[in-house]
């Protein structure tokens, strides 16, 4: 259990860094802002890595993540449409975008009695391209909304919290936590399925229904996250691998570890993004800048 203690200590250290380190000296106001930032960081990092772990387990493919399945891009497209039409990010549209791409990918990959895993990734990547093109069209058409969409695509935690969105963000986070708890209960089924679908079918798991539930719940989670902090990349792909490296293949452990490590990683990335420049640097930029060298080191070791 020392590993668990270790990642929790690192997590707490990241929280402390997130609150204490920054360009300005800490006072009551700055503290409020930093606490919100840290809460958003924990939420987004945790949820994205959790979804990544879940989907990698479900489809037995190390490449699967919110981005490669098209959900994140779909959510970003939905949110961009919201920005263009209503002037603000609409969580419902983001969710709809995420679900819409999810539905398409699922339909393409579905065969009698299961899902074709290779086709799933292919369909996901294809949909990502489509969504990116559509977002580009919106960016070109919008003009003035360009900045907002750009930051939505990279993701940032400096979101302004005010009277009109505070309650909604809290509500969305509570719904997400509920969904995470709901999905965590399937860790045993995931263990079996990641061994191979035949075994799972042999043990009486209805793979079709099970995949459907996991797939669309995670699409919902990703849609909710993107609507709050934007489409932060990299966390969902890499953190589950790190979790598996540390805790092995059992989903009971690595789902939880992904949650904690994802939060830790995003907090560290955000702290870095805050101190290296006076400007608001999208945290999605920093996640890959920091994450790639770390990942290479980890796998070469």
């Amino acid at each position: 259990m020392t590993k668990t203690a270790l990642i929790i200590i690192v997590f707490l250290a990241a929280v402390a860094c997130g609150i204490l380190i920054g360009p300005t000296s800490l006072d009551a106001q700055i503290l409020q802002l930093r606490i919100w930032r840290v809460v958003l960081g924990i939420f987004a990092g945790g949820v994205l890595a959790f979804c990544g772990c879940l989907l990698q387990g479900l489809f037995g493919n190390p490449l699967v993540e919110p981005y490669t399945l098209g959900s994140a891009s779909g959510a970003a497209l939905g949110a961009s449409i919201g920005i263009l039409v209503f002037g603000t990010i609409n969580p419902f549209l983001a969710f709809l975008g995420s679900l819409g791409t999810g539905f398409f990918v699922y339909t393409v990959a579905r065969i009698e009695g299961g899902l074709l895993r290779d086709r799933l990734i292919l369909a996901g990547v294809v949909m990502s391209f489509l969504c990116s093109s559509l977002v580009m069209i919106i960016m070109v058409m919008g003009g003035r909304e360009l900045y907002e969409i750009l930051y939505l695509l990279m993701g940032y935690l400096g979101v302004i919290i005010n009277d009109s969105n505070r309650i909604m963000i809290i509500a969305l986070m509570i719904v997400s936590l509920g969904l995470v708890a709901f999905l965590y209960r399937f860790h045993r089924e995931l263990d079996v399925i990641s061994q191979g679908t035949e075994t799972a079918a042999g043990l009486g798991i209805n793979i079709q229904n099970f995949s459907l539930v996991i797939f669309f719940s995670s699409a919902l989670l990703i849609g909710l996250t993107v609507s709050i902090v934007g489409a932060i990349g990299f966390v969902g792909l890499i953190i589950p691998h790190v979790a598996k490296l540390i805790f092995g293949p059992k989903h009971r452990y690595n789902l939880g570890a992904s949650l904690v490590l994802g939060a830790t990683f995003l907090l560290i990335a955000d702290t870095i993004s805050r101190i290296i420049t006076v400007y608001e640097l999208p945290v999605g930029v920093v996640t890959s800048l920091v994450g790639v060298p770390f990942f290479i080191y980890l796998y070469k070791k």
């Binding site: 920054g22 360009p23 300005t24 000296s25 009551a28 106001q29 700055i30 409020q32 802002l33 930093r34 919100w36 002037g87 603000t88 990010i89 070109v140 003009g143 360009l146 900045y147 907002e148 930051y151 940032y156 400096g158 979101v159 302004i160 919290i161 005010n162 009277d163 009109s164 505070r166 805050r274 006076v278 400007y279 608001e280």
Partner: protein, 269 residues
């Protein structure tokens, strides 16, 4: 050896012909102008040269006559093909935003007029140059003197710290290279992000709070009340947040600046 009579006559004919074409060019005076700059479009209309405009952007929405002029695209993405199709004698471009368009027009040997004023002085200079370029010099001179008499820089005892918000998501403000930065200074204030050497930097909420502005100008349609962490900013405390301003009166270096400038002086008094 003296030149032959024939060659003298030939030279004389050439000279006369040259004069004639020159005079004709001047007399015709029907320049076809495409303006990609909303501010310059307004300036052209107040110079009485609105009829020379054959193309504008979708952002050029003032005065009302601009509605009838052909659109060549929006401010950031005008279509070179549409511009060329209008056979303009002069295209007014904004730098740095339309650098790409300018390069393409240069390649096609289409004359461009560059507008990128960073201060009132530079704006006057541009109006004068534009007046010369399309032969409305006297109108340009009178517009300049009219604007000069209405835009008198203020030098207060103490400059108030101003925060200008262009967009809430992400937080976009104006940096040192913008016209608005210099306008705030002329009206007697100082931009809290005037030290950032960018046009429109994206800043953090923390830096706004740390720089504690005395006045906040909101140049987007959203309200900024009720933000977490912003309560103790001096401008919020004293309720000196102005969110009913028309951004075009401040962001467009043209005749309507007078309204914006007077409003600014009133706010900063």
């Amino acid at each position: 050896m003296l030149p032959s009579r024939h060659s003298i006559i030939f030279a004389a004919v050439l000279l006369v012909f040259a004069f004639l074409t020159c005079a004709q060019e001047k007399k015709g005076n029907d320049y076809r102008v495409v303006s990609l700059s909303p501010a310059m479009t307004e300036i052209l209309f107040s110079l009485g040269a609105g009829s020379k405009l054959v193309g504008v952007t979708t952002f050029c929405d003032f005065p009302a006559e601009t509605k009838k002029i052909a659109k060549v695209g929006d401010f950031s993405n005008p279509s070179v093909e549409r511009i060329v199709g209008l056979k303009p004698d002069l295209v007014i471009v904004n730098l740095p935003e339309q650098g790409r368009i300018k390069r393409e027009l240069d390649k096609l040997n289409i004359r461009t007029f560059v507008s990128s004023p960073a201060s009132l002085a530079e704006m006057y200079e541009e109006i004068s140059e534009l007046g010369a370029a399309i032969a409305v010099q006297s109108a340009a001179d009178s517009l300049i003197s009219y604007m000069k008499s209405n835009l008198k820089p203020v030098v207060p005892a103490k400059r108030k710290k101003v925060y200008i918000e262009i967009s809430p998501r992400p937080l976009v403000t104006v940096g040192s290279t913008t016209f608005l930065n210099s306008l705030i200074h002329d009206a007697g204030g100082t931009n809290i992000f005037g030290d950032l050497n960018r046009a429109y930097p994206v800043v953090t909420q923390e830096s706004v709070i740390a720089r504690d502005p005395e006045i906040i100008l909101v140049l987007h349609p959203e309200r900024i009340t009720g933000r977490t962490g912003w309560q103790n900013i001096e401008a919020m405390q004293n309720n000196l947040v102005y969110d009913d301003l028309d951004p075009d009166h401040f962001m467009r270096p043209g005749p309507r600046l007078i309204q914006g400038f007077n409003k600014l002086c009133e706010i900063l008094k």
